[in-house]
């Protein structure tokens, strides 16, 4: 692949490309300064911090969209000396990360205000983590990948321990740190093997160098792939690398769990897809690797979720299962299959963040994350119960929610790309049938008569905080409409992946060629 970058200065183009990141960084610093300047930590000041954060996040998103609108043809181009790559995929993924960040900021305020005095740092940290994720989504160089991943990870460790006075939060942070350190070590080892075999850190060069090994089966190659992807599987919370997720999700502050389950996971998927599509095309063991991980994830995630009593733990296992579904797209590796993952991530962003928003609000109302404590909630908060039910049904994949369309397009793409994997789709659909049992159990408890003591204690009329309310409204609308009006989103998803595929020697899969 010939390198188009020959400049040795950072030009205007490069600056414009990372304009969203620049805005976010400025926002991050501004929040830190504002936090230092506001000593009293009054309600008013705290709300102001949240509003400022939102302004910067939305500004960053607007800059991204503006940049995107400037280039209708969207010719892929490397930026920053080849460290980043401006292509459709990078825009789509970064837009999703920013949307996820915006919702996270909006839904976390009520929780933070209740549980801690220091609010500004939280916003700075989630913005920093997202920054890492954005670099990761556009990375075109192993060094950029590593920097992005570490920025995301280290801020996440801090976030998990944000309520440092509660032991469970501290425990979650520590576990995450130790496990994450291990992941990083293995990842680096894998990357060093990549460098050793290819002699470059640039994706295009690596792809060219590794093409020589295509079809060759060598233990070093296999170890390299497994090490790189084991570390990513940890970020994606794919079984058997998911052990940390339930503990961390349960222990961490709920907004952090929401952030980890969506934004962190989306970023990890972005880099996984890019590595797979650009560097390791047609690698002999990849389909088998992802098949094993997909089946393990779906089955363990869903069946263990059946036994959970804590809603955050339950959602942790549910995200493990969802990662498993998405992997089926990687198994076939076609642009339709992988493109469906991107679409799946879009829908997952809203439905999972929406579900977490409800958990946050219910947690504030009842002071508990036990599913039992939601008993009879419908009598106090019917609207919220309706919203939560929509998110849960979407997670279970019931039409006409977006969750259904995401699953349909994904599984349809899998069967069309390679019918030999019909059995995998059957396993996935059986699993989603199982999943309905625990999702619907929450709905059932919320609507049965005898309210729990916690629900009884809820005052009849308290107004929902506006940020949480609007984030919920947006999530409900997206969950209901993203499926029915899927065409444009699907188009972006598939096109963005197609562009990645064009970069590499085409591996013809059986069945239909798209």
């Amino acid at each position: 692949m010939p390198e188009t970058m020959a400049m040795n200065v950072i030009g205007q183009k490069d600056m414009l490309f990372i304009l969203p990141e620049i805005i976010l960084t400025v926002g991050l610093l501004a929040i830190l300064c504002l936090t230092m300047m506001t000593h009293k930590k009054t309600r008013h000041e705290n709300a102001g911090l949240m509003q400022v954060s939102l302004v910067f996040v939305l500004g960053s998103l607007a800059a991204l969209i503006w940049q995107f609108a400037q280039q209708p043809s969207m010719e892929p181009e490397t930026m920053m000396f080849g460290a980043l790559r401006a292509d459709l995929f990078s825009y789509v993924m970064r837009a999703m990360l920013l949307a996820g960040l915006g919702i996270t900021v909006a839904i976390s305020h009520a929780f933070l205000e209740r549980n801690t005095k220091i609010i500004g740092d939280f916003y700075a940290l989630v913005m920093g983590a997202t920054l890492g994720g954005m670099v990761l989504s556009a990375a075109n160089d192993l060094a950029a990948v590593f920097i992005g991943l570490e920025t995301l990870s280290i801020t996440s460790y801090v976030l998990a321990g944000y309520l440092r006075r509660t032991t469970r939060s501290a425990e979650a942070s520590f576990k995450y740190l130790v496990y994450g350190g291990m992941g990083t070590a293995i990842f680096l080892f894998g990357l060093s093997l990549v460098y050793g075999l290819s002699g470059s850190t640039n994706f295009s060069d690596i792809a060219t160098a590794l093409a020589a090994y295509q079809g060759v089966m060598h233990p070093t190659l296999l170890l390299m792939v497994i090490m790189v992807f084991a570390a990513l599987a940890f970020k994606l919370s794919i079984a058997p690398f998911h052990m940390w997720a339930p503990d961390v999700y349960e222990g961490a502050p709920t907004p952090v769990s929401a952030f980890l389950s969506v934004v962190s996971k989306t970023a990890a998927f972005a880099v996984t897809i890019r590595l797979l599509m650009v560097i390791f095309p047609g690698f002999p063991a990849w389909a088998e690797l992802w098949t094993i991980l997909a089946v393990l994830s779906m089955t363990i995630g869903n069946f263990v979720a059946l036994k959970q009593r804590n809603v955050k733990r339950l959602l942790a296992y549910s995200t493990v299962a969802h990662a498993g579904y998405m992997l089926t797209g990687l198994v076939v590796g076609s642009s339709a299959g992988v493109g469906s993952i991107v679409y799946y991530l879009m829908t997952y962003l809203f439905m999972n963040l929406g579900a977490f928003a409800c958990v946050i609000y219910f947690g504030i109302l009842t002071g508990s994350d036990d599913i039992e404590s939601y008993r009879g909630m419908v009598q106090k908060r019917p609207g919220l119960v309706l919203a939560f039910s929509i998110f849960l049904l979407s997670l279970a994949g019931i039409p006409i929610t977006a969750g259904f369309f995401a699953k349909f397009f994904l599984f349809q793409a899998v069967i069309m790309s390679n019918p030999a994997y019909t059995w995998l789709v059957i396993v996935a659909l059986l699993n989603s049938t199982v999943s309905l049992a625990y999702y619907i159990n929450i709905i059932r408890l919320m609507v049965v008569k005898e309210p729990s003591d916690a629900v009884n204690a809820i005052p009849a009329h308290t107004s929902t905080p506006w940020a949480l309310g609007s984030a919920l409204t947006i999530s409900v609308a997206a969950t209901l409409l993203l499926g029915v009006f899927a065409s444009q989103f699907l188009n972006y998803s598939t096109e963005s992946v197609k562009q990645l595929v064009q970069e590499r020697p085409v591996v013809v899969s059986q069945g239909l060629k798209r």
Binding site: I226, M243, A285, V425
Partner: protein
Amino acid sequence: MSNAVQDLVWLIPVYPLIAFLIIVLGRWTGLLKPMSGSPFVILATALGLIHTLLFLGNWGPAYTAVEQNWTWLQAGALQLPIGYFIDGTGMMMLLVVTSVSLLIQIYTHGYMGHDPGYSRFYAYLALFNFSMLSLVLSSNLFQMYIFWEMVGVSSYLLIGFWFTRPSAAAAATKAFLMNRVGDFGLLIGILTLLYFSWTYWQGLDPQQLLSFSQMDGAARTALAAAGPVAFTVMAILIFMGPMAKSAQLPLHTWLPDAMEGPTPISALIHAATMVAAGVFLIARMYPVFTISPNAMMIIAWIGALTAFVAATIALTQVDIKKALAYSTMSQLGYMVLAMGLGAYSAGLFHLMTHAYFKAMLFLCSGSVIHGCHEEQDMRKMGGLMKYMPITGITYLIGTIAITGVLPFAGFWSKDEIIASAAEQPLLFMIAIATAAMTAFYMFRTYFMTFHGTYRGHGHPHESPKVMTMPLAILAVPSVILGFALSGFFGLPAFSQYVSFGHAHHHDPNLGVMGLSILVALGGFLVAWLMYGQAKVIDPARIASAFKPVHTLLWNKWYFDQAYGFFARNIYLSFASLSAWFDRTVIDGIVGLTAGTVNASGGAMRALQNGRVQSYLVIFFIAVVLLTVVLMWMV
């Protein structure tokens, strides 16, 4: 005029959708008072009925199918269309759904008049109507699947309407879950069909993807591509959808439980419309089923067994709604049997007549329950004919209709089904035996409820006019519909309008007719001897004489127990096993820990017991294992 009626036929489901939105928004903004909203829904349904009738009137003499498609979603090469398709079968369903819905919605005003959830109930009814009518109008399989699931969701809401009752919430959950099992098969079936017939669809206008009008060629392409065995498996997977929705064995146990919902729902959804959607889907996918003889045979047998098993269970039921529910299941079994035998018109004819008389029977039961102060146990009823004559007479008409006595509706349609089974002795015997049992259990419910002396509490009273009027109207088709479309005496035959392939009318099989009337009379006679005025035979003695059989039937063939056993011992064990694997094994492998961790035990304890270390060891083991396994696999 006629063009406008045809072009705007998609409005039929939109009317109730608008009514639904009006109620939801009205209640939200407070513009609508709590006990209002019903006029919008009733008006919407009436509009739908009028539109349907106008369409029928302007259809023209040939009754050629009308189809229109638009592109809905585009995903790469896959274009999913949305549209409407109306042929004889679709028109029949439209008529049934709009007319039965309208009457039931009027009835509901009387039945739910004092329920605090009145508006919500009407909103759900409108949502259901929208989904059901959209399902009927669907021009392609994917679209139908979407609305197929949406009627499931509306049904979930309506069964769980009295959600404050734990039993209602449990029944709604069960119905939803069991339908998902069927829909899982249906979705896999759709995906495999799409794969096998892909080359065929590519040769067509993309807006016709999976359209029913082109299903014939798709089926043949798929058969050629898949081979007979895989094709049969695919057909059975598709059939799993109807199996759950139309309550066929073994996915039937949700239907009796669904009677927890308010009675108008039982009449509308669980007797007349939604459960019949399964049969409708079989009809729409008929090109796929007919070219697989094995699939047809399996369908016929499942239908026959369902009809038989359900009828036997109905023999011992004491809850009036449960008895009718098993009766519905049994009659649906007849329809599925007919479809499996290739008797397309007969199956759908029975669907139509059954929709009217079973809706009426359910509404009668609602009137009875209402009049007896929310009592459902038939042992605490009796002698009601004196107190509620209109309900009693209409119930009797419904009973005669379902029993299959000349010239009532059920006779003509059921008889065609039994006649079509004439060439398969075993199926024929099952069908005849079921007919005898049907006569027995239906007259049993009639005698127990309306004859003898009143055994309940309080004073039973006739229901208000708003409830009895729909009963009287529904009695009309229950009496004449069969005869009017029987094809006798120069009258039109149902199969002229609703048929698969070329219309053919069977000559009446007089022998079968005579036999079925005989067994119906036999069933009636036994019921009269046991439960009528005479009480010649004591039911308790029969029960004790056939104790094992009675126990089996009383326990509904132990299906629920078997599923309960499965859920408790296998399903949840697997969940426990997974949870155990997820936690304990890991600690066990490492051998560093003893006992489980108290989650609130604080950071240090959790770390000291080796949990985190064990995670790390698992990480390593997984990497090594994956490497080894992949080395060996590749």
